[in-house]
Amino acid sequence: MSTAVGAAGPLMRVRDLVKHFPITRGIIIQRKIGAVRAVDGVSLEIERGETLGIVGETGCGKSTTAKLMMRLLDATAGEIDFEGIDITRVKGARLKAIRREVQMIFQDPYSSLNPRKTVGSIIGEPFAIHRLMREKGERKREVQRLMETVGLNPEHYNRYPHEFSGGQRQRIGVARALALNPKLLIADEPVSALDVSIQAQVLNLLRDLQRRLGLTVVFIAHDLSVVRHMCDRVAVMYLGKIVEIGPNDALYAFPRHPYTGALLAAVPVADPSLHGSERHPLGGDVPSPANPPSGCRFHTRCPKAQALCSTQEPALEDKGSGTLVACHYPLSREEVAEMGVRSAR
């Protein structure tokens, strides 16, 4: 598929992506009275072979961004450029061809597998949809090879999802996503429904696959420790916008946006010797995305907010520490240390 031109530059380029969900009133005659601005101007690039983490709290737009990248939702505005093609506009056979290149692993391994189908037909379904491996023996061999790749016993080809544990089901989901050899894999909270001991099994599997197959992955999670473990670069989202983006090491060692700092400081660390330090958690709640604050969207909760913050929206800029930050008054090292960010260096 990939041409000489497509092989250069980033795999995906997202520009000013916007997704608004209309809020309507009335049953028969629906009037639009507002919009939930789930994603409100996101720009980012995904390099070939990297793992990009997207973190943020409930309602920040991270899952909506993923669904837009998959074309499971239609964008309100903006562009998603995948190997030179703007996928927000394509239809029909071309859309189907792109869907083949972008695959997804879902959060809940219980509801994302059809309970009435055998594991073999679940993992083989992408072949059926795209009319590949049409010879039965060939398809079975390929499915069994995939099962082995993700650490499932190929002899379990004819079993049903209920015969597997949560961790094994997530492996089935991973095998299905890998079936078509996609160029981009989107994992939306792939381990948050799993128990701690099982979570590690799935994370190790994903890391191993990344290394072995050179996958490009978008890894969406709310758990900042997991994202740090898995990703090369991280984007932090707040109310539909990216507030900070940069290489993993830089972002965790020296977060510049006060929201990134607050998120990192809030993570409980499994070490009681760090217990003593008094913490000052971020106050308040995330405002409604239907009516986001003016200027910088974080100013209503930001301890550093000044008058400028409520009137002028900050742009994503390099502030000299390796990340791009959308903040008028980024954090200093002293402030990061004071907040109790445990990954700071």
Binding site: D195, V196, Q199, A200, L203, L224, V269, A270, S273, P281
Partner: protein
């Protein structure tokens, strides 16, 4: 450890549920205590029995046909055998509980204030007006802005974090001596979780209550707990001060838990060491040590012998249920702490390796 009489003492508690498939041994003989003003963290994965044991403390498993044996002593009374009406006088009064999901624990059709006054008036003979005053006071106590107005709102008008504050306010209505919090922050975002944990710590300091916090999150117990009990398949496999559990854990399951979480301040290069296999069935738990099928260090006789929770030599307050020699355990943990895999640690210590199922 104080020598004073503990506020709550659970002795050899067993809870079994007869089902069509067989008897579920949800809690299989656990013993622990909670002292006044202290926090006990109960850690375990789904199905380890941590929730059932605390529901039983409040008598909430009685109606589900559970077979309960053992003793739960609270201020000299045995809650297992206490008549229902006497138990009701304690529940929500001296012992209160906060549940995981604040949305499903609040009645959607009643105003928050009404639900709070109900909690107050269930145990205190006060007028409606007085109870309402108390409700406003409680909402203020848990940090809800403008409590006099919000007391008349419905649960859906509150955010997730605010609802959990309402749940805590309700639990505190009668100034309990013991607060049981079952995964109180699992449904919440990380910044809101930090708010709720800070709130619980502040209220504990101000009101002097004891807290039992049940969670699967090792970070949360490290932040909150003075003492920790680790549960696996209905049993306590290790109990010690929080500092000991994290710095010198004795049980292979605890090692497994600690090694399987990525840490914000840990090395990124190191791979996680997952615990092989899956949690066992509680209908047919494994013979001998319940953990042996998943334990990389299990020896052949561990499938036969059932380990008791015994004191760790020279470490008062630290108990572990493991069949390995104390000395062997110490050497294994040294190896694991240095970043060795279980296989490497076994070879180093000179134990024959086990083949986990």
């Amino acid at each position: 450890m104080s020598a004073a009489e503990p506020l709550l003492r659970v002795e050899d508690l067993r809870v079994e549920f007869p089902t069509e498939d067989g008897i579920v041994h949800a809690v299989d003989g656990i013993t622990y205590q909670v002292h006044k003003g202290r926090t006990l963290g109960i850690v375990g994965e789904s199905g380890s029995g941590k929730t059932v044991s605390s529901l039983t403390t409040l008598g909430l498993t009685r109606r589900q046909g559970a077979r309960i044996s053992g003793r739960i002593l609270f201020e000299g009374k045995d809650l297992v055998t206490l008549p229902e009406d006497e138990l009701r006088a304690i529940r929500g009064n001296d012992i209160a509980m906060v549940f995981q999901d604040p949305l499903s624990s609040l009645h959607p059709l009643y105003r928050v204030g009404r639900q709070l006054t109900e909690a107050v008036r269930a145990h205190r003979d006060v007028s409606k007006a007085k109870a309402r005053e108390r409700a406003v006071e409680l909402l203020g106590l848990v940090g809800i802005p403008d409590p006099a107005r919000r007391v008349d709102e419905y649960p859906h008008e509150f955010s997730g974090g605010m609802r959990q504050r309402v749940m805590i306010a309700m639990a505190l209505a009668n100034e309990p001596k013991l607060l049981i919090a079952d995964e109180p922050t699992t449904a919440l975002d990380v910044t809101v979780q930090a708010q709720i944990l800070a709130l619980m710590e502040r209220l504990q300091r101000e009101l002097g209550m004891a807290i039992v916090i049940i969670t699967h999150d090792l970070g949360v117990v490290a932040e909150m707990a003075d003492d920790i009990a680790v549960m696996y398949a209905g049993r306590i496999v290790e109990t010690a001060s929080a500092t000991r559990v994290f710095s010198a854990p004795e049980h292979p399951y605890t090692w497994g838990l600690l090694k399987s979480i990525p840490r914000l301040d840990g090395s990124r290069e190191e791979d996680l060491v997952p615990i092989p296999g899956t949690p066992p069935s509680l209908i047919n738990p494994p013979s001998g040590c319940h953990f042996h099928p998943r334990c990389p260090y299990a020896q052949p006789d561990h499938a036969r012998i059932d380990p008791a929770l015994e004191p760790v030599p020279d470490e008062p307050g630290h108990h572990v249920a493991c069949l390995l020699e104390a000395d062997v355990r110490r050497r294994l943990w040294e190896q694991l702490g240095a970043g060795k895999t279980p296989e490497e640690a076994l070879a180093e210590v000179g134990l024959p390796g086990a083949a986990p199922a």
